[in-house]
Symmetry: C2
């Protein structure tokens, strides 16, 4: 069994940060279309995509945003957290081959209810691609919150 | 080149709906973890997952929500739309083998700015798993909005 190492509410404070980076390739686009069913030609048809404002094929916005889920689910708060909500604003398109860094930062804590709000961003270099806020419930050592 | 058949702003009216259904299997979970990097054990470790409130392995919330992207990108408004924002509330966990239906409905239109707000839901049978709102920009026949 996995030794679960996610943060409890007592371990968290405002300003804590974590990040995760990934280079998105055409393989990611193909696989994301397979799991989601999203076969929009702006992701798959270079001839069509060149006629759009993007000038070529781009990633699915939800594929870029999926990196936020990775940070929340594996690093901060990590396993044991329950995903309650996520707001996403798609600011700039990401192209195949680009490397995205997702960062999350603890923005506020409701210790009584074991709830944490995190500010989330996805950047390609200095360019903001996605931002938004996540709300999660985390375990507490006292056995409240998201504890099993 | 794909013959693009997405809706223009002139074609849309409040209350229009579209949906897409998909059975999520373990293959989807494995592939979504591969593209996102989200290897949280609640998705992969049955022994651990059985100790949580979910009682077993569950899908990534963002995997369930990816069906909304499929409806928006392929059906309503379809190709040509630009995804501006998405809010998601995770209401109930989805288990491997369950069939999710994503529905979107045109909630409001800003014809001058070619922007459309859509109410989005993901259900497993009668159970609401995810809901939220999407904002997209669509093309207009007059060449404004999201036109290429």
């Amino acid at each position: 069994m996995t030794e679960v190492a996610g943060y409890c509410i007592e371990d968290l404070s405002e300003g804590m940060e974590a990040s995760f980076s990934k280079t998105f390739t055409d393989a990611d686009i193909v696989l994301f279309a397979g799991v989601s069913g999203d076969t929009n030609p702006v992701h798959f048809d270079a001839v069509y995509a060149e006629t759009t404002r993007f000038g070529g094929r781009i990633l699915h916005g939800m594929l870029t945003a999926s990196l936020i889920s990775a940070v929340l689910g594996t690093r901060l708060p990590g396993p044991g957290a329950i995903y309650l909500s996520q707001n996403l604003r798609f600011r700039a398109a990401v192209k195949p081959g680009e490397t995205v860094t997702a960062r999350v930062r603890v923005a506020s804590l409701d210790r009584a209810r074991c709830r944490v709000t995190l500010a989330c961003t996805c950047h390609v270099g200095e360019t903001l691609a996605v931002d938004g806020d996540a709300e999660v419930m985390v375990p507490s050592r006292a056995g409240k919150g998201a504890a099993s």
